[in-house]
Amino acid sequence: MRKATPARSDLKRELYGQMLRIRRVEERIKAVYHLREMRSPPHLYMGHEAVAVGVCATLRSDDVVFPYYRSHGWYLAKGGDLKAMLAELHGRETGCSRGWGGSMHLIDLRAGVMGTSAIVAGTISHAAGAALTFRMRRQDRVAVVSFGDGAIEEGVFHETLNFAALRKLPLVFVCENNLYATNTHIRDRQAQPEIYRHAERFGFPGLRADGNDVLAVYQHARTAVARARRGEGPSLLEFQTYRILEHCGINEDHELGYRTLAEVRRWQAKGPLQKGKRLASEAEVRRMTAEIDAQIDAAFEYARSSPFPAALLAEGAAR
């Protein structure tokens, strides 16, 4: 089950390729969403790619991730099946949740992508349950949970930090701080917006880093995952990043006035793909793009030609 550590240049190319793949998948979703074939609210990951990619690159295939509703990136970075994801967005029987979940409820158990929740902070405690199970079974697997900056305002975040610290669980908390909970800035929501410092109170490491720098994410995640695997307990990683599009949907939203176009463009200029430009050569990017686009074509074709689920209830079930 162990993932071999690739050579340095291979790793860089791999990280860039993964980010590129997530971005191209979502660009395609964005491009064809108006056709109304995907009738499920997409919370696009655009702008966050370095976080999921950097973290998942440090994990073994038998480690697990618990993403939140902005989960497309995590699902793909951990090795989730692209065809099943797109089929799910199309509401098809072949979808990863057989048409019951939609964009907000992706899952790929084979890849270690655990079910995601549309309730903010919903799966933080699930990850602790997985980590507790690994501990009980004397397995050296690690659970990673990701969530936005809004989730830390929920009580269950603090409850779970305490429990994980108390039991020294093999768990890594990954906060993707994109500054906004839907359209409300963190300064209007949090008295103490240094999220990573919540770990201090429970006596485990917390740090803040540039979440658009995939190599930085990778390095910090590697340290945290290794610590968890050694049985030394959890870590809290706060990655600063930025959501390029609206909270939910395919559009830009600066015209709402809660953030300026200048702010969006400023963050875009230092986005994960821009920052990671030197991780792969132009020729490599061209080759990867062609490969990725072929995969996307095939996955859309698969999704669109898949059947819809037929019956709501099993035969004979009570209505």
Binding site: R98, H126, G129, A130, A131, V156, E159, F163
Partner: protein
């Protein structure tokens, strides 16, 4: 065997049988061991399988959901069902949704054991039953044992079940004594029990109202009325078949629930009968439920709060249009006497 000993028996045997079963909850390593219902578990199975939880009920529930999706069978214990209200996000939005929401790729074999703390002036926040709250949600099951045998059998069935089950345990019944098989056995979830056969009126009872209904039935018999008493045992899925068969025979229905009326189990039972067997009814059904107010603490008003055998007898008599409501009985259950 006492009711509380039957709960303990089921727990220990289930943990012996299946290494994936573990206990978790606030205060479960307390030397009092949840009124003795977990006595010896910590000593026998150790802190790895008797997991003390911080006062973080919602997180503990999510931790159980997470563990359950990895094949564990957690039993989450609450000293009061009122505390389960802190966990509604994980129970309703997560545990109940997880199997369906991901196309039935995972199961959530979770048991929430929740104690109703009636007695000794426990007041509005320590005595609620919430039978109906948990019976409304697709993806949850709810059971309410009324006697020591079912306390054991239903708990084992709940632990064996692959879906989340709320096990509602009335502390009021903890000291009740009855014969309970020593071996490992389960009482099927979703099946009511006819605990007394009768001809004239069907009394459908929930939890502590079962023994009250049996007392009422005795008094009714002296007045020449033959009551059939059904212990629902499972609130969800509700066993309509047993209830409908009985009402089909008697044509009269009283439902006795130790919970509030609005949107409740008693109303649900009557609705199912009305929808399916309206023509069998010879009289309007009657609900015997709690008054529409929180549960009070002081004994004088608490005594006015809880309906019992007397109210059931009066209701059944009324349904039978008989004038035999003389010589009414009163409830004789032992009262819980502190400290909490």
């Amino acid at each position: 065997m006492k009711f509380r000993e039957a709960v303990r028996d089921a727990t220990i045997q289930a943990m012996d049988n299946d290494p994936t079963v573990f206990l978790i909850g606030v205060g479960i390593i307390d030397p009092r061991a949840v009124w003795g219902t977990l006595s010896g578990a910590l000593e026998k199975f150790g802190a790895d399988r008797v997991v003390e939880g911080p006062l973080s009920e919602n997180a503990l529930t999510g931790i159980c959901v997470g563990a359950a999706t990895f094949g564990m069978r957690p039993v989450l214990v609450h000293h009061r069902i009122d505390f389960v209200m802190l966990t509604m996000d994980q129970l309703v939005n997560h545990a109940a949704k997880w199997p369906a929401m991901f196309g039935r790729q995972q199961t959530v074999p979770l048991v929430v054991r929740a104690v109703v703390g009636r007695g000794w002036g426990n007041g509005p926040q320590h005595t609620q039953s919430h039978h109906a709250v948990f019976s409304h949600i697709p993806g949850l099951k709810a059971v309410v044992p009324s006697n020591p045998r079912d306390a054991k059998g239903l708990l084992i069935a709940a632990i064996e079940d692959d879906e989340p089950v709320i096990y509602i345990e009335h502390r009021w019944l903890h000291e009740d004594n009855a014969e309970v098989p020593a071996e490992y056995f389960s009482t099927p979830i979703g099946r009511a029990a006819v605990v007394r056969h009768g001809r004239d009126v069907t009394v459908v009872a929930v939890g502590p109202m079962v023994s009250e209904s049996l007392k009422a039935a005795q008094a009714l018999e002296q007045a020449g009325l033959s009551a059939e008493v059904i212990d629902v045992r499972t609130l969800r899925p509700l066993d309509s078949e047993t209830i409908l068969a009985s009402v089909g025979k008697t044509g009269r229905l009283v439902v006795a629930d130790s919970d509030w009326s609005p949107c409740g189990i008693a109303g649900e039972v009557i609705a199912r009968v009305a929808e399916t067997a309206f023509d069998a009814l010879k009289a309007r059904p009657v609900r015997v439920t709690w008054p529409d107010t929180p549960v009070p603490s002081s004994e004088t008003i608490e005594a006015q709060f809880y309906p019992g055998a007397r109210e059931i007898q009066v209701a059944a008599t009324r349904v039978c249009e008989s004038r035999a409501d003389k010589g009414v009985v009163s409830s004789t259950v032992k009262h819980f006497e502190g400290p909490f």
